[in-house]
Subunit: 246 residues, 6 copies
């Protein structure tokens, strides 16, 4: 049940028996020579919708923009400052809590969001812990690709070269979701370099010349994407239900 | 050219000859008994994509969440506080300006955003006027439905009862964009009441029992939506080009 | 009843029977060659005091500084950032609400304030809509010159050339209020140019060389100011009472 | 030279030879049974204008609202939060610095502003000290009543019972400035109590039943006000010139 | 009773009979040629611990970083912006108030903190005064050196040349507390210059070449420090108890 | 070289050849029945000082207060909100960068800080990536206990029951650093429970009755603490040098 495609009365009905909602969150940032700028939010969105279709849980509109300061050296990338993204998360959670939503399951497509969104959760909890809010909301964030099936499949498909950014698996999933936007590009080296840490945008660009980290997305295909989608939906259904039961 | 569906190199190429970008912005809020919660951002998005397809200009990912505090009395609505939305607009504009984007054309689907987004523009300009930024960005916001063709058509289709919220025209356009999510509902009275002003969510709900203002969206149809779409794309192409030439 | 000229006991008495208050708001910004930098707040103030004298309603001290970033290219102009002005409006409203004031009628002298102050109102309402405040305040903002009598008179006096900034009517009203500060200046062209949009201060100055927009304030006189004052007080009394009865 | 009553060209001329400006700042808060709510900003304003008239220096529009949280137990008082007032001071200083103003002399009418405005100055300086601003502004704040002549005269007029809030001297000065708003009230005890410290509004009201601290403003008169005005203008001229020469 | 060296159960026991807590606050800033960068927080800390040891009251961990923008011209100094320090004070007070602490006695080692911390207190009180918090906290801030014994002793030891920054007395106290970090340096002139006001870091450095203001810390010794410590602990015990009884 | 125990000239000398600094960061929060509230910042501090003593690198004063909202159900715990702590980190980094410090190595004692401090780093980098700061600072955060020697030793000492909060190893290290504050307490069950996730303070307290997570700190001893200290200093020296060479 996508909120965006529902009427308010339908959501009212939903809340009579349930109080969970999925919030897809991604980014607007470069994903290497053949990856889409929207890869992260597209992946989070398609998996979230898949979970919603499968088990009927509510899915909020996608938070497309994430924390991507390190990608600003590549054209088309956009970031919310961490402090801004924290306020966005707070406002979305507080708004939906007004209606009775209590458990917020963020399906995430971008590693760069983790610290900021976790800090946003703590900012929300701090209001409760400091005695300034009585509304008992609970939040959890999970990567669409972090479940057991997804991890096994990515290793099966791209043994050792799935990588860390512009991964073969996320490019595949985006190709499956947006078959009209499959891109082709020469990539040298075939497998991109890695590094233990990066800092601001100029530093990132200096380390990762075409934007990829440790990946070989030339291996991607929409067929892989379909399999990764199925695995991710299975994983996320399980994770969502575990959170609801926690 | 949707940024989300492009690679960074494609955007780099685009910026060699152009510096404009469209940012669709909408809301997540009730739209009456047969309107979708996503109506405003869906309408802004479909028109923005249409303009991008027609003339090849860049279209940023949709800002789905807007300023909707007055709708929080209806389940499923979500708001960003004005202060939050202002930071979001600032961050998106500043990010894309890093790459060379200079003109930001916001296609808007929600009246409640106007004050906040205009204030956000002034906050951005204030940094320039106070001598704290040298990057000469310029922003304009326009309703997808405010062009000459769109206004004429809406009047032709719904003479006098298009209304102010959950309008017949926006419901039609959303039906055209999302034909799988067409809803049907009894609405009494047929044409919703109006009021000169409303305040917070409880006040809004007290004045407008089912969420509509002055509209009869039972008149909506996806066929109307197609015609409204064509008119809006024509209007917005013209408006975008006028802004680029300003 | 001006709050500034009252004792706290007098205000306490007032609140036994009434809960409305007028807040004049203006700006500190250039008003062309013969207009005063204080024009906007002086006009809002004199009309607000006139309404207070006429019907005994409370009038808060004037918010002299407004949102004027676009005028910073002209010496002496000062702006509050939109985000600052929003906090000022919030604090004034929340303070007076402590005592029992419930309806805040802002008489405005400056178009540049509209978006920011409207956003401030929504920020205040959002706290209520999000369940974080129980105090039911309501706000409205009106231009001193926007009532029916004022519009007719301005057209009668300056047919077609009242303009959009440094208008003949506001310069006249300020001359009436501050007869010791009437200025004379040559202005070329006689009627200033207009433009559909402006952005930051440098852009504004490039479009409007002496600061005026579309006006011929050489037509101004304190006698006109007196007539405009009477019209505006009549209009604003009516508007205030309509708001109280809403 | 009051900015509010000048044209931008007049201010431009002024800045050819001078770079100082006086900013009057006060409060909107109770001043006991016969003191006006506007006492603090009226006193700061009349003295600032007097200095401007005497030596031709620029005087910005009055910051009427100050930090008055402790007075909110008395009807009609209004406060800016310290964090808000700090932003207001920053914006006013940064705005006027755009034009070339470099020295900001705040004439203050309210003890409660001292900490907040001093913190605001440090916030402004911190940007310079942290290498984020090159504009060398300097600020000083002085009470209108703190000069040598003013102190001697207040002691001469009200030996030992001028007090700390709703003082006889400030009530006198306000009576001189606003002779149409002289109030009369019984006050018991004649000299109000004092206390070494107070906290929030409820605490303040519990300690100071009618709002006064240590004062006997029944001694006030507009004639005293005239003498205090003359002394204060002399004192502040001296203090302003010392600051310009510092 | 230092909170840092206690278990939560010990603090729970404490709060059964008491509700006061001492918060030492200092700075990280230059203290002249033989003074330590940590002087201010070390002095506040050692005195606070002394009071805690003497009478068993709770002592919170030291707020080492203060408002030191004016010292940033000297290597090793660090500042919190005033707005940041205000939030720190707010969070510490609100946190401890959750457990039942009600009276917060700040022992201060740095003049530059006074305005900001006082503004922070008012920000906290403002929430109460505006009806947004019910928790009746009360705060007071005192210099460790401002009690009667301390003032007499400093005058006895350094008649007239204790000074205003990098004072002989604070350097002595730090030497007593940190005997392993006693520094020796030539200082010319022997007694540092003074000035009535300073502004940003560059201005401060221009006025006070080696960082000192009006002091001769070559007179300092750990023996003096011991005597100053004893005096300060006596003074602060008295001041703390007076605050608890207020 | 502790900044707090150095003069500004000593720091100036240091910066002639080095640009790194260690910032210890911890928390003020319960650590179970026999753990100190200061455990986290004491551990970070003692290890940081050990590294500074060993290799002469600069060590800034400890950030004692961290992000501890989830511990507010236990008396004596205090938190900075994530948004506050982010500003603290920003201000400390920006201040020290003024002098030429470029690499900031945070030795952390508290898991709850990770998200917030990482977000703070990104907020700092975002200013660079958005073109608003030219100062190339780089930050890294490491747990004192996360190095290879430390992990091996903890496993050797407390095989499988070191736990996640109020760990045997951190209690031991604090006992070594503060031998005068060793506490003894009965703990039931001997090994505390664990849970995959917790939320706000009430939830945390409900899951972990005496504050511990998965640990048996009755095994702690100052002798263990000494061994853990040596291992941690070795580990952190290595990690600091690796960061400087990165």
């Amino acid at each position: 049940m996508q909120l965006a495609l529902s009427t308010w009365q339908e959501v009212e009905d939903y809340l009579r028996t349930q109080s969970g909602v999925i919030v897809p969150i991604g980014s607007v940032e470069q994903h290497g020579p053949n990856g889409l700028i929207g890869t992260d939010h597209l992946c989070a969105e398609v998996v979230a919708k898949g979970v919603g279709d499968r088990i009927g849980c509510a899915v909020a509109p996608t938070l497309a923009y994430g924390m991507s300061q390190h990608h600003l050296g590549f054209t088309g990338s956009a970031t919310l400052r961490p402090s801004t993204l924290m306020l966005v998360v707070r406002d979305v959670v507080q708004s939906l809590a007004v209606h009775g939503f209590r458990r917020f399951f963020f399906i995430n497509g971008h590693g760069g969001n983790v610290a900021t969104v976790t800090a946003a959760f703590d900012e929300i909890y701090a209001e409760m812990s400091l005695g300034r809010s009585e509304v008992p909301v609970r939040c959890r964030m999970t990567f669409w690709s972090s479940g057991p099936r997804g991890k096994v499949l990515a290793e099966e498909l791209y043994a050792g070269v799935n990588g860390h950014h512009a991964t073969a698996s996320e490019v595949s999933l985006a190709q499956y979701y947006q078959p009209g936007a499959i891109k082709h590009a020469q990539m040298t080296p075939k497998v991109a370099p890695t590094a233990p840490q990066f800092f601001e945008a100029a530093d990132y660009r200096a380390r990762f010349a075409d934007g990829r980290i440790g990946s070989d997305p030339s291996l991607s295909s929409p067929e892989h994407g379909k399999r990764l989608y199925d695995a991710a939906v299975d994983d996320m259904v399980e994770a969502y239900q575990a959170f609801m039961a926690y």
